[in-house]
């Protein structure tokens, strides 16, 4: 039976993280996901015609920027940049769950009744993130920061002590804290989100 990392502890960390990210650091990005049904692909697996997106969803994030690089390629001096966006997992998932509902006590962006955290957004490879007028394509998603080393989604209750809904239910301990998206710069005109060419 686990002794530490109860949901009360997790809630403390969640509130502190949200306060830190939304009120103190306040770095934001816009998250685009493809509309898979509407975006058609051709024989080569590419959407050469049109692309359709959901969003954008404005999210609080911690941004870890790398230096701009200007590699010399066959085409000339190019530009590239890699960025790591870290999200609080509860900001993205768990829409409608109790811990994501606003309490109308100022712990929200708007404080409107019926609203809450949880963008209902599952980050995946290929998604687009807009940050500082630049678009970045996600090429890696990492979600392996577990509070007290436990992921409540996988309780693995096998013995009677830890049986579900009991005092030792492992699904009530620990938390998956973050989702980290590793992304690289992508040309705006490829995405067709904004006009990038004028000639």
């Amino acid at each position: 039976m686990a002794l530490f990392g109860t949901q009360r502890d997790v809630s403390l960390f969640r509130h502190m993280s949200r306060e830190l990210m939304s009120d103190i650091i306040t770095e934001q990005c816009a998250y685009y996901k493809y509309k898979l049904e509407e975006t058609k692909i051709n024989l080569y697996g590419e959407a050469a015609g049109e692309k359709f997106y959901m969003g954008p969803v404005l999210l609080n994030t911690l941004v870890e920027r790398t230096d701009n690089v200007y590699p010399e390629t066959d085409l000339g001096t190019d530009y590239d940049k890699e960025i790591q966006f870290s999200f609080l997992r509860d900001d993205l998932l768990g829409a409608g769950k109790e811990f994501n509902k606003f309490d109308n006590k100022g712990n929200s962006y708007t404080g409107l009744p019926g609203t809450g955290y949880g963008a209902d957004l599952v980050p995946d490879v290929g998604d687009i993130i807009m940050y500082n007028e630049g678009y970045y394509e996600v090429h890696g998603v990492v979600a392996n920061q577990y509070f007290v080393g436990k992921n409540p989604d996988y309780p693995n209750n096998v013995n009677t002590i830890n049986k579900p809904n009991g005092p030792g239910d492992l699904s009530a301990y620990g938390s998956s804290i973050s989702i980290i998206c590793k992304a690289h710069y992508v040309q705006a005109d490829k995405l067709g989100l904004t006009q990038a060419r004028y000639v």
């Binding site: 590419e46 590239d80 090429h139």
Partner: protein
């Protein structure tokens, strides 16, 4: 101080005479059209060493300049044909997009700041683009060749149909004037095979297909500006790859080599000194008015001429006493 002389730049003739490797152009006797032709760079001095002012020709105020054709003209022919004839386009985000072409590896400031129209806000190159580079110049001796670079006697004459002295006007015909014809002698070019490496980069294979189809259709034809130069261009094969790196963008690339049958006429001092550039045919003789004291001349005078007038004004005549 008295012996000090101010340096004086040497004339072209002086430079020529002190350069032993440069021989004056002496046309073979009896050669058609060249029997009395001399090098205009020699200030009208003929093969016999006699100064003939009739051979003084100049390119001053002449719209036809001494002919030269370099590698740049060959390179420009490709860009002209791509931009004005092939005009490759792709469909991008529902809009027909012109594909820019540029010579590979320009200066950094030029490509980032001056030619930044194919870059986005952050400076990343936007596809599709076509880049090309000249990678080799190979001499083609199967067509023709000069005998010796120091004696480029192998020339071709191009006659200018009309000039200042021979205008397109019926007045000359009515007055039975023989038109003055000007000809330009152009040395035999060096025929070369130029090889260019092309890289076409696009976002999508579908876009690439369209460009390759257009390039393939234009292969084996004469590329260049019709008003200037055209060269036969051939493309044999295309290699297409799709690059997908871990932390990078997907890029479709096609590379191919283009062989251009070009030619070169360099603008060198060697050619300038040893080749004929311009010549005219003899068409008219102009005599100024001369007067004598009596006709027929009965008096034996050592100088029967009174004076020579050039302004043709009889009032200005002065009889010699």
């Amino acid at each position: 101080m008295a012996d000090q002389k101010t340096p004086r730049p040497k004339t072209q003739r002086e430079i020529l005479l002190q350069t032993s490797s440069q021989q004056t152009y002496i046309p073979p006797r009896g050669a058609p059209g060249f029997s009395q032709t001399v090098n205009p760079n020699l200030d009208g001095v003929g093969p016999d060493g006699v100064n003939n002012r009739g051979n003084h020709v100049s390119f001053r105020d002449d719209k036809t300049k001494p002919f030269a054709l370099g590698l740049k003209e060959n390179d420009e022919a490709i860009v002209y044909y791509m931009e004005n004839v092939i005009k490759p386009t792709v469909m991008q985000n529902g809009v027909e997009q012109k594909v820019p072409i540029y010579y590979g590896s320009p200066e950094r400031w030029a490509q980032v700041q001056k030619e930044g129209f194919y870059r986005d806000l952050k400076g990343k190159i936007m596809m599709p683009v076509i880049t090309y580079k000249r990678v080799s110049v190979e001499k083609n001796r199967s067509i023709a060749n000069k005998i010796d670079a120091n004696y480029p006697n192998n020339v071709q004459l191009f006659q200018k149909p009309y000039n200042v002295k021979n205008q397109y006007d019926n007045f000359n015909i009515l007055n039975n004037r023989i038109p003055k014809k000007e000809s330009y002698a152009v040395v035999m070019p060096d025929y070369v095979t130029l090889t260019y490496d092309f890289i076409i980069s696009t976002y999508y294979v579908e876009q690439m297909n369209k460009i390759v189809e257009a390039m393939n259709y234009a292969s084996d034809s004469y590329w260049g500006n019709k008003e200037r130069f055209q060269f036969n261009a051939r493309i044999d094969s295309y290699a297409t790859t799709v690059e997908l790196v871990t932390a990078g963008n997907r890029l479709v690339k096609t590379s191919f080599s283009l062989k251009l049958n070009g030619y070169l006429i360099p603008d060198t001092i060697q050619k300038e000194l040893s080749s004929v550039k311009k010549l005219s045919n003899a068409t008219q003789l102009i005599f100024n008015m001369e007067t004598v004291s009596q006709i027929p001349e009965t008096k034996t005078s050592p100088d029967p001429r009174l004076s020579i007038h050039s302004n043709n004004n009889p009032a200005s005549f002065v009889d010699k006493v």
